[in-house]
Amino acid sequence: MEKVFQSAEKAIRELIFDGMKIAAGGFGLCGIPEELIDALKVSGVKNLTIASNNAGVDDFGVGLLLQTKQVKKMVSSYVGENSEFMRQYLSGELELEFTPQGTLAERMRAGGAGIPGFYTKTGLGTVIAEGKEHKDFNGQTYILEEGFFADLSIVKAWKGDEEGNLIYRKTARNFNPVAAMCGKVCIAEVEELVPIGSLDPDNIHTPGIFVNRILVGKHEKRIENRTLSE
């Protein structure tokens, strides 16, 4: 099964459809699948539901798809750095399923691991818990959260091989490994495609079984908040 594709455009072809659910890796602008986001923008696919911790900034990352109004609904924990995101949400143009960061990560992992629901204390007593089942374990109350299942996962890794084995670099790992797990199909874009056997088998972060398509991308890696020591 040939997993290597020559471009993000080719990799998403025949996989995208209006109204689809996408899980995206990345945290802020760090470790985001830049080329796949661009390809989705160019494709014009509409009414997307995107699970992504943030939506990047106005003109970079998932924010690009908000600019073009291709997104119907976001599943995110943070809006802070994206004024267009906040504007569309406050004006009612965009649905937003606010999901605590840890709950979002766990929901993606659960979706990938065949777990349709799990209990957590996160969000108990807040708007997040409204309408959700509550259950006591050992005298403490928890709420039920559901696994997240996507039609497509888009992730960014540092290196990958033709089997789809991936490794990530530093904090660019973030949501990528769990986003990769929860999609029916997962496309990974990597900085470098390495020959099979060059990754250490003890240190593969995402085994190839989770990755259906892989491509090499160019990454701007824009820095959101360049903070220096004095």
Binding site: M86, G102, A105, T126, R173, F175, N225, T227
Partner: protein, 209 residues
């Protein structure tokens, strides 16, 4: 009255050797400046890092290395990186000793509000709901009153909650307070502040006032 740095310094005193600590955005970030050299702690960043180092020099900036506030940072010898799921397994599983966070409002029962003002400002909860529900001890650092001079330390929070009965200690410009089942107790009054200052600025009921 404590200033930002004095509040951070007071919070730093709560940190014991060997602790794993998560610092929120804003004043909490300053806390790491006040940890004495003989205290060895490990900072967790919820985007997937244990053993967070200081901000980088210009030459050391790495776009793949940021903290939860999206600031560029550095690693240490002891650093490890992991996924968001593993990071929050640490947080939600009770493995972090302390979280120090900012707040918009705190109630006398330890309720915390720090993620949105309906219709006006929405930041999102990020990892804050996970932190307050999972971490062993939660310390809030905030100004005692808002810009209009209204108390932020309330009987009940007016804003949407981040967590219910989750705050253990509150450090404000006026002093340090403990919240437990009995209620709110003054632990320390800031230099230059008085009991009267606290009385005037606090809506929450304080049991040792």
């Amino acid at each position: 009255m404590w200033d930002r740095n004095e509040m951070a310094a007071r919070a730093a005193k709560e940190i014991k050797n060997g602790m794993y600590v998560n610092l929120g955005i804003g004043i909490p970030t300053l806390v790491s400046n006040f940890i004495p050299n003989n205290i060895d702690i490990t900072l967790q960043s919820e985007n997937g890092m244990l053993g967070m180092g200081p901000f980088p020099t210009k030459q050391n900036v790495d776009p793949d290395l940021i903290n939860a506030g999206k600031q560029t940072i550095t690693e240490l010898k002891k650093t490890s990186y992991f996924s968001s799921a593993d990071s929050f397994a640490m947080i939600r599983g009770g493995h972090i000793d302390m979280a120090i966070l900012g707040a918009m409002e705190v109630s006398e029962k330890g309720d915390l509000a720090n993620w949105m003002i309906p219709g006006k400002l929405i930041k999102g909860m990020g990892g804050a709901m996970d932190l307050v529900s999972g971490v062993k001890r939660v310390i809030v650092i905030m100004d005692h009153t808002n810009k209009k001079g209204e108390s932020k330390f309330l009987k009940e929070c007016s804003l949407p909650l981040t967590g219910k009965s989750v705050v253990n200690s509150v450090i404000t410009n006026l002093g340090m307070f403990e919240i437990n089942k009995e209620g709110v107790r003054i632990l320390e009054i800031a230099e230059g502040s008085t009991v009267d200052d606290i009385k005037k600025s606090t809506e929450a009921h304080i049991i040792n006032l």
